[in-house]
């Protein structure tokens, strides 16, 4: 059979995309999930803080996912769990396997890629030292603690101050472990400010900014680490070493969109971030294949994943019912100074509006986001504070889009006078 839409991934992105496509009138929708249940990584995020923007209330990860899973009831959207997608092709065929149906090739009129992301590992940053047990990514530790109910260590040093690392600092502490330090290479945290306060400060866990681990010790199990201060070149400064006796090192050193399926399908990927290159309606370089959530860019809040994925679902419905949007006279979106990976990189001329997401590369106090069309300022938005740990969002209305004369716009971040 030919599905209207197949969604690869049953986490928050996939769920929202499928529901939005259904609302826009698609009939046969299939969500394929590799785990035994829907919800994705939210299932292990048992802390609260989810849903403040979307539901206007504070939910845990499983509760947030649960609301969307409940919304599937009665929609006719099919979910196939315990199923791994092995390949996606440009002609919209999906090769997948599971224990009951074996190997099968499914066909769809449209596809939404929603595979999420994975954690960077020790290898990605080449931490020197021995290779004992007790060095885990924060997410793997989170799964052991929250899903399996097992502790991964007693005396913990956390490298990286990404949100999962911060959350795990608190979680391990609440479970009776001693978190000795959170060590961050950069001069600022990569996580949300609220997590620094609620997960480190509230538990008197010291945050060592501009520091890194220079050695892991221990033959079979971690016995200790050495950290050192780093200079502006991010190289350790001799003489600044501090030793910690610990049995566990948790890594929270960044997330990478999981795009092996995308790459093998020949869909454009940004080589710097490994994220899928998308248009304002979340369409990829291949018409009819869309992508949303952390597979495109790593989000700070799941609420934004939901919003973005609804856009992808609606666009898939539009594609199936009305055909593709014209790619002629497209508007390119460029990164200005101090602006990191931007989503989207392209805007269709016929778009009704466009939301631009990005992260700044450094801390900004009183500042502004400026969107320019050549020398012409399209938008000038004041910000009290901007940090790399938090996503920035700019909405361009139809009238602003109409005002664009050139074929590219640029987004800048800059300090302004009070």
């Amino acid at each position: 059979m030919m599905y209207d839409l197949i969604v690869v991934g049953g986490g928050p992105a996939g769920l929202a995309a499928a529901l939005a496509a259904k609302e826009k009138g698609l009939d046969s929708i299939l969500i394929i999930e590799r785990d035994s249940q829907l919800g994705g990584i939210l299932n292990q995020c048992i802390h609260n803080g989810f849903g403040l923007h979307y539901f206007k209330e504070e939910l845990t990860g499983p509760e947030y996912a649960g609301r969307f899973i409940k919304m599937l009831e009665g929609t006719g959207i099919k979910a196939m769990c315990d199923t791994m997608v092995l390949a996606v092709t440009q002609d919209k065929k999906i090769h997948c396997i599971n224990p009951t149906d074996g190997y099968q090739v499914l066909e769809a009129k449209s596809i939404v890629l929603a595979m999420g992301c994975r954690e960077r590992t020790r290898g990605a940053i080449s931490i020197p030292g021995t290779r004992p047990a007790g060095v885990l990514t924060a997410g793997a530790a989170q799964r052991f603690v929250n899903i399996e109910g097992h502790m991964v260590g007693k005396r913990v040093v956390i490298l990286g101050s990404g949100d999962i690392g911060l959350i795990m600092a608190r979680r391990m502490t609440l479970e009776g472990a001693k978190v000795l330090a959170c060590v961050e290479l950069m001069p600022y945290s990569g996580g949300l400010q609220r997590n620094i306060v609620q997960c480190l400060n509230d538990f008197d866990i010291p945050l060592y900014l501009s520091h890194t681990i220079t050695e892991i010790r221990g033959k079979n199990r971690v016995e200790g680490v050495t950290i050192a201060k780093v200079g502006p070149d991010r190289k350790p400064i001799e003489g600044t070493e501090i030793d910690f006796d610990c049995d566990t090192v948790l890594l929270s050193v960044g997330l990478i969109p999981e795009n092996e399926l995308t790459r093998n399908a020949g869909i454009d990927i940004d080589i710097r971030t490994n994220g899928v290159v998308v248009w304002e309606n979340m369409e990829t370089s291949v018409p009819g294949i869309f992508a949303s959530g952390n597979v495109v860019h790593v989000h700070d809040l799941v609420d934004y994943v939901t919003g973005e994925s609804q856009k992808a679902g609606r666009a898939a419905a539009e594609y199936v019912k009305q055909g593709m949007r014209s790619r002629e006279h497209a508007i390119s979106v460029n990164e200005g100074k101090d602006v990191g990976f931007i989503v989207p990189l392209k805007i269709h001329r016929e778009a009704m509006d466009a939301e631009i997401f990005f992260r700044v590369r450094r801390i900004f106090e009183t500042s502004a986001i400026v969107v320019k069309d050549g020398d012409k300022v399209l938008a000038h938005l004041k910000r009290a504070h901007m940090a790399p740990g938090e996503m920035e969002r700019v909405k361009l209305s139809r009238s602003l889009l109409d005002a664009i004369e050139g074929d590219e716009i640029t987004v800048y971040a800059e300090e302004v006078e009070e």
């Binding site: 396997i97 590992t121 080449s126 020197p128 603690v145 502790m151 991964v152 479970e175 009776g176 079979n220």
Partner: protein, 477 residues
């Protein structure tokens, strides 16, 4: 009383066990660790050398070329990944061109077939990512890449299936003369054997000194590596060497049989068990490697590791009787992985000369199958899932390893007790997430299969516990 006891089950010990298990002999394999092939055999360049490098007349030269041939036969029989992709030694100057000639001459004397000298144009044609500064190369088509730990494991497994007894967690403490042979005291009991093979890798001198006067010394030497993700795996299609110098064969760049890119090693003196990585060494490896292949993207690194070479102070393999019916196979440095089966073959001959009676078994098992789900055709995939639904559940998403393959590994002749043991057999956790996603699931499958608690599942060797207890069960003091 065993006929033969083999001390150490790395590549040399497992090759000896395999060759000896063809005969009606009572064989004991004594291994210190909780699994086989956990020393140098699992941390090396994974190359089967063609054999032009060793100086003619040395034992290294004698066993390398023969070993290259035997390795390919064995890997085919025992279903081990081994690909004959050929190697290039690059020359960056006229002086190094002379070195290539010398290597070529050595190769001829050592019996290496079909070598060629390539000019710069030919290099560029065959290997577009190799540096433009390379002016010539020695091409040796018989060089191969292999999965080294599966190679050793396959031979050890086959020996066990043919009746050899493997004693794990058995460190040799002392050896004494016994009536008609030797008595070996280990941490877990004693073993008596008429003949002993010392294949203890970086510890061969210590074992030797238990039965004879000191005659050589192992000078352990560490080499560090990068292993890059599969998107870098096609950066080169041959094993790319630089000209050897006094420190060895230098830093190489090569694809692995799993489709990754391996880069390394350096060479620094170290302790026998010191497999830590160091910033200075890794910096050296990176800087050296980009001389050969400038475009390597080290941001795609997924793992660093260190292997320790069992270099003997004699500069060559040390092969001979240390005492009556006590055979040293020591100093098995590079090209030890390539030479191992030839050394084992010769060891059997040497023991026979000393009176070991060799009667070939009629029912010798000389095959092995490893089901690699991801390599099957679509029809075959469906077939195996229909037979066993566990092949339809992918546990390791990076390497597409199914639960069926993990269960196979746990039921194999030498049962793994750790995540890394399963990794070495099934390939789980080898990929870009390094077991971050599949680790908890594999741990659960090991606990279930081996009927042990979660806390009893190890990462690797004894003491490498992963979990410290259940949640809300007390923490640090």
């Amino acid at each position: 009383m065993y006929d033969v006891a083999i001390i150490g089950c790395g590549i040399t010990g497992s090759a000896c066990a395999y060759f000896l298990s063809k005969y009606s002999l009572k064989i004991a394999i004594i291994e210190k660790k909780n699994d086989v092939c956990c020393g140098t055999t699992r941390a090396n360049s994974a190359i089967i050398h063609a054999g032009y490098d060793p100086i003619p007349g040395t034992l290294c030269a004698k066993y390398n070329v023969r070993g290259n041939l035997l390795t390919k036969e064995i890997c085919k029989k025992l279903d081990v990944l081994c690909k004959e992709i050929g190697s290039l030694v690059l020359a960056f100057s006229d002086e190094e061109k002379e070195t290539l000639k010398e290597l070529y001459e050595r190769g001829i004397k050592n019996g290496v077939p079909d070598m060629e000298i390539w000019d710069g144009d030919r290099i560029r044609r065959e290997e577009p990512n190799v540096s433009e500064n390379a002016v010539a190369a020695l091409y040796a088509p018989t060089a191969a890449i292999v999965n080294p730990w599966e190679y050793g494991l396959a031979m050890a497994e086959t020996a066990v299936r043919n009746g050899a007894e493997l004693m794990l967690n058995s460190e040799v403490k002392s050896i004494s003369k016994a009536d008609g042979g030797w008595k070996i005291e280990t941490g877990s009991g004693s073993v008596e054997a008429k003949y002993v093979i010392n294949a203890a890798g970086v510890y061969t001198d210590i074992i030797h000194n238990m039965v004879a006067d000191k005659s050589f010394e192992i000078i352990p030497n560490a080499g560090e590596y990068y292993l890059l993700d599969k998107c870098e795996g096609e950066r080169v299609s041959h094993v790319i060497f630089q000209c050897p110098d006094k420190n060895g064969k230098g830093v190489l760049v090569a694809p692995t049989v799993h489709g990754n890119l391996i880069v390394g090693p350096n060479a620094v003196d170290s302790d026998r068990d010191d497999t830590a990585t160091r910033t200075a060494s890794l910096d050296f490896v990176r800087t050296s490697a980009v001389k050969s292949v400038p475009s390597i993207n080290f941001r795609e690194n997924i793992r660093n590791f260190t292997g320790v070479r069992a270099n003997a102070d004699t500069g060559d393999f040390v092969i001979g009787f240390a005492a009556e019916n006590f055979l040293d196979l020591a100093g098995i440095k590079s090209p030890g992985l390539s030479a191992a089966p030839a050394i084992a073959e010769d060891a059997v001959r040497m023991l026979k000369e000393k009176g070991l009676e060799l009667r070939e078994k009629e029912n010798f098992i000389d095959t092995r199958r490893h089901l690699r789900f991801n390599e099957l055709s679509d029809e075959k995939k469906n077939e195996v899932i229909a037979r066993n639904p566990l092949y339809g559940r992918v546990v390791c998403r990076c390497e597409t390893i199914t639960e069926g393959e993990i269960v196979d590994a746990l039921a194999s002749p030498i049962k793994p007790v750790s995540l890394d043991g399963v990794k070495r057999r099934a390939g789980t956790g080898m990929g870009r997430c390094q077991g971050g996603f599949c680790g908890p699931k594999v741990l659960e499958i090991i606990a279930r299969s081996n009927n042990i608690t979660f806390e009893d599942v190890l990462q690797d060797d004894t003491g490498s516990y992963i979990l410290t207890g259940e949640t809300k069960n007390g923490g640090a003091k």
